[in-house]
């Protein structure tokens, strides 16, 4: 395998008619790192990926590979492997011919092509699939052929556009674990686009969250979850109840159910800095809350109870303004019950109001 390379996006910008699809986006990807570009549809993540691949010219900004400027290089000269959303497998070729295509384009001899395609297929668990027709493959197999085709050219960087979005939920779970294992084992630098946070968290070392063509926050999955820099990030990652409060640099004081409660608080990530004002929103994650049995915490009434597998999700109305969502393994609470809720994991994140 070619050694994994360092990739750097420098103020990439792309405009479509009136819309700024990608707005001065900068991102460093270390050698061997798996980074997910995550965002809702229309956030500019696919356009960013296509600029990195060379299919879309940036209006301004640069792409660097191992310190070399490759902004104007044609896709065929970048040598990146790419896995497309619908896989883009050539329908008139067999599995083996698809995988060997990049080698054929490089003038590799027929016997070597066959051997390397076979080993790439073995890498993704498709030993012996070479002679099969593309049409005979299941969705998951097509995804793996697309991956093998991208890997066989030993790319310095692997790009994946929603590689899991066409798989059914069960297959998706197992495939994303395999994907991470394969990429780890081969020590590849990879950038992949997804709108699904479970995919992003399961595969990536770091997640870059995008909205309206800009990066909201870049960090490890836990960092995004525990230290969101803004309400937008906190809303996109996981679920949360936002409660207005006053922040003094150490604690946040919130008013719920007629009582003032002081909670240890964590300033948002460095990017946004400490909120300028004392008025903030405390981010109460459902998994940081629990029912209190000793009568402490906020009193309220259960308004909704939803079974979610290992846990139940409850909604508790504490006062007119506040309805809190929490997760619990306790199955004996029902709609209409009077309960009290307390914070069991501190510090809680705070974001600008």
């Amino acid at each position: 395998m070619a050694s994994a390379a360092r990739l750097s996006l420098d103020k990439l910008t792309r405009r479509f008619q009136d819309k700024l699809a990608v707005d001065a986006l900068s991102l460093e990807i270390a050698s061997g790192e798996l980074v997910a570009l995550m965002g809702a549809s229309g956030s500019g993540k696919t356009t960013t990926l296509r600029m990195v691949a060379g299919y879309e010219p940036p209006d301004s900004g640069r792409v660097w590979l191992e310190g070399k400027d490759i902004t104007t290089r044609a896709p065929r000269d970048r040598g990146f492997g790419m896995v497309f959303q619908h896989y883009a497998l050539f329908p008139h070729m067999t599995v083996g011919q698809n995988v060997a295509f990049g080698l054929e384009a490089r003038g590799v001899s027929k016997s070597e092509r066959g051997a390397r395609a076979a080993s790439a297929l073995a890498n993704v668990g498709l030993d012996g699939a070479s002679p099969r027709a593309i049409q005979s493959l299941s969705g998951g197999e097509q995804q793996r052929v697309a991956l093998a085709r991208a890997l066989v050219i030993e790319p310095p960087v692997l790009l994946l556009d929603e590689p899991l979005s066409n798989l059914d939920p069960n297959l998706r779970r197992s495939t994303r674990n395999e994907l991470r294992a394969t990429l780890r084992r081969l020590h590849l630098t990879a950038l992949f686009v997804t709108h699904d946070q479970e995919d992003a968290f399961a595969v990536a070392d770091r997640v870059a969250l995008m909205e309206n063509g800009r990066l909201l926050q870049v960090g490890a999955p836990e960092e995004l979850h525990d230290h969101p820099v803004s309400r937008a990030v906190a809303e996109f990652i996981g679920r949360a109840t936002f409660v207005p409060g006053a922040y003094d640099g150490q604690t946040v004081v919130v008013h719920i159910a007629g009582a003032a409660t002081s909670l240890a608080a964590r300033a948002p990530g460095r990017a946004a800095g400490t909120p300028a004002s004392r008025d903030v929103l405390a981010v109460l994650r459902p998994d940081a809350l629990a029912f209190a049995t000793d009568g402490s915490g906020w009193a309220g009434v259960v308004t909704d109870r939803r079974f979610a597998g290992a846990q139940l999700v409850y909604r508790v109305r504490a006062d007119e303004r506040t309805e809190i969502e929490l997760q619990s393994t306790d199955r004996n609470v029902h709609e209409g019950d009077k309960v009290s809720v307390r914070v069991v994991r501190e510090p809680v994140p705070v974001v600008a109001a």
Binding site: T46, A53, G54, Y55, A74, P75, R76, D77, R78, G79, F80, G81, M82, F84, Q85, H86, A88, F90, P91, H92, F101, G102, E104, A105, R106, Q135, R149, A150, I153, D161
Partner: protein
């Protein structure tokens, strides 16, 4: 029998019976006729030098036309769908222009332009001070030249559509894997448009095989099968005409079966996010492109322009000059004054209206049955509606002429030859595949649960038909009826076999005026014909709402 099956059969039985009677029966008459003396006629055919010549020439013309039409249509399709340059849109709009010329009119336009005394020929002769015309527009090359102009449109349309359907991410994926432009073209794009290309090439082959107008006008002493059939019939050698027709029809039906096989292989329907981007030209090529495009548009429009020009030339004055020397409105005003000159126009319009109405009714039912119903006999119906597409018009005409030449109701034969009705019947038969396939296309786009939903809401079969199915079929009906009407109004190949003086259509009048050397009058009729074709297209667009692009086009 389930009630569903019963209604299917109640609809299918009359349609099948009608098609068996007017499509299959005449062909059986021909084949039976060819064996009237055992193998006698076939032996005669095999030993006749002129028939052998006709057969080889026909194949030369057919293969030559395929090569020429592909050589023009394939690059044009690639350039127009993959390269961006000034003038591209205009060229794209004009590229299908040759298909809008009625077959005989196109041939006459070429005669006026490139014939021995044509404008281009004389201009070149004068320009280069040659004692003789630089070329003679006769023989195999002349026929292939005309075919290249009219038939490249099939290749162009099929390949353009194939390129448009192509998933752009496939090209991107190949580029990302390191493939150069040429490598991608050779390994990805061309193999993927091969089914479309092969289909269009077969279509050209079929059209050229049965082509009559160009060999008839430019063949000189040359024999091809279609003209040989007509000559044999004129000489009263019906047995030979039957054998020649059978040979021609078998070759064409063979090509049709191959075409269907290719269409079934057209299974690549993947879609992705990628777009088919056009390369923008730079440098000197970008400056030359608009000029080349303009030149091409000029060549495409020249035949139409020539017809219009000659329509204003005074009859009998254009002798040795490059361009007609005297111009007049006489050719048109005479038509308005002389009721005799109006008869062919009235005939053509009437016969077109009758044939098209019959096409709309019968073909709608056939298409509905083919798309929405499963019943015994569906395969037969499917075959019957495409058959007249493959069978050359000359063969259709000979079949009708020899089946409906006597009154024998017991054999389901009626005397139609020599009456008004034989031509509308021929036009109707030629229109069947055009209208049926267009309506089928529209009905296939309709969500099949719509009709069920209407029935589920309590609508009767007829109400569901009227409010749901027919509106869904309307774009296809409009497009198909347009094609059928355009084919019928300018029809020449079947007409020359079947017309009588009383029901002579416009095309026969054009031919008569041409023989009379009244070029101006012939051109004036041609202009009228082009206007009628335009009028029909516009009317259909207004009636049918959004008109669909239909890939099948009537053949000459």
């Amino acid at each position: 029998m389930k009630p569903e099956q019963r209604t299917s059969w109640a609809l299918a039985a009359p349609v099948l019976a009608l098609l068996l009677w007017c499509v299959v029966y005449p062909n059986i008459t021909i084949i039976a006729g060819s064996f009237a003396h055992g193998l006698g006629y076939w032996r005669e055919f095999a030993h006749s030098p002129s028939d052998r010549e006709a057969l080889t020439t026909t194949l030369e013309v057919a293969f030559g036309s395929v090569i020429a039409a592909t050589a023009v249509g394939l690059p044009l399709a690639f350039i127009l769908s993959r390269v961006e340059f000034r003038g591209r849109r205009l060229l794209q709009a004009m590229a299908t222009l040759p298909a809008a010329l009625p077959p005989l009119v196109g041939v006459i336009a070429f005669l006026f332009l490139y014939g021995e005394s044509g404008v281009i020929t004389r201009a070149v002769q004068r320009g280069l001070h040659l004692p003789e015309p630089p070329w003679r527009l006769t023989g195999v090359w002349a026929i292939i030249f005309v075919h290249a102009y009219t038939m490249y449109v099939y290749v162009f349309l099929f390949v353009s559509a194939g390129l448009e359907r192509l998933d752009g991410t496939l090209d991107e994926a190949a580029a990302g894997l390191g493939a150069s432009t040429q490598f991608r073209l050779r390994k990805v794009t061309l193999p993927l448009v091969t089914p479309a290309l092969a289909g269009s090439m077969l279509l050209v082959f079929m059209s050229a095989l049965g082509s009559f107008s160009a060999p008839y006008i430019f063949g000189g002493g040359l024999r091809v099968l279609s003209t040989q059939v007509v000559a044999s019939k004129l000489n009263g050698a019906m047995g030979m005409a039957y054998v020649e027709t059978t040979v021609m029809a078998i070759a064409a039906v063979g090509a049709l079966l191959l075409l269907r096989w290719f269409e079934r292989r057209r299974t690549y329907a993947l879609s992705g996010k990628g777009s088919n981007t056009r390369i923008t030209l730079r440098g000197p090529l970008a400056r030359m492109a608009p000029l080349l495009a303009a030149a091409l548009v000029f060549v495409l429009i020249l035949p139409h322009a020539m017809i219009v020009l000659v329509a204003f030339a005074r009859d009998g004055t254009w002798t040795t000059q490059v361009l007609p020397p005297q111009y007049t409105l006489e050719n048109f005003t005479r038509m308005a004054r002389d009721p005799q000159l109006w008869i062919p126009v009235r005939n053509s319009l009437w016969m077109t209206v009758l044939a098209t109405i019959a096409n709309i009714v019968v073909c709608f039912v056939a298409a509905y049955l083919l798309v929405r119903r499963r019943f015994v006999g569906r395969g037969l119906l499917q075959l019957l509606v495409v058959l007249p597409w493959a069978i050359p018009a000359t063969a259709i005409a000979i079949g009708l002429a020899s089946t409906f030449d006597r009154n024998a109701p017991a054999q389901l034969r009626f005397l139609l030859v020599g009456t008004f009705w034989i031509l509308p019947l021929a036009y109707f038969v030629r229109g069947i595949p055009l209208v049926t396939s267009a309506v089928e296309g529209s009905l296939r786009q309709m969500d099949p649960s719509l009709e069920d939903a209407a029935r589920g809401l309590g609508a009767s079969w007829w109400l569901a038909m009227r409010r749901v199915v027919i509106p869904a079929a309307r774009p296809g009906l409009a497009a198909g009826a347009t094609l059928a009407a355009i084919t019928a109004v300018g029809e020449f190949v079947a007409s020359i076999v079947l017309y009588t003086h009383a029901n002579r259509p416009i095309s026969m009048e054009i031919l008569a005026q041409l023989r009379n050397l009244s070029f101006g009058t012939a051109a004036a009729y041609s202009v009228l014909l082009i206007l009628l074709v335009l009028l029909i297209s516009v009317a259909a667009r207004l009636l049918g709402g959004r008109a669909e692009r239909v890939e099948t086009i009537p053949t000459a």
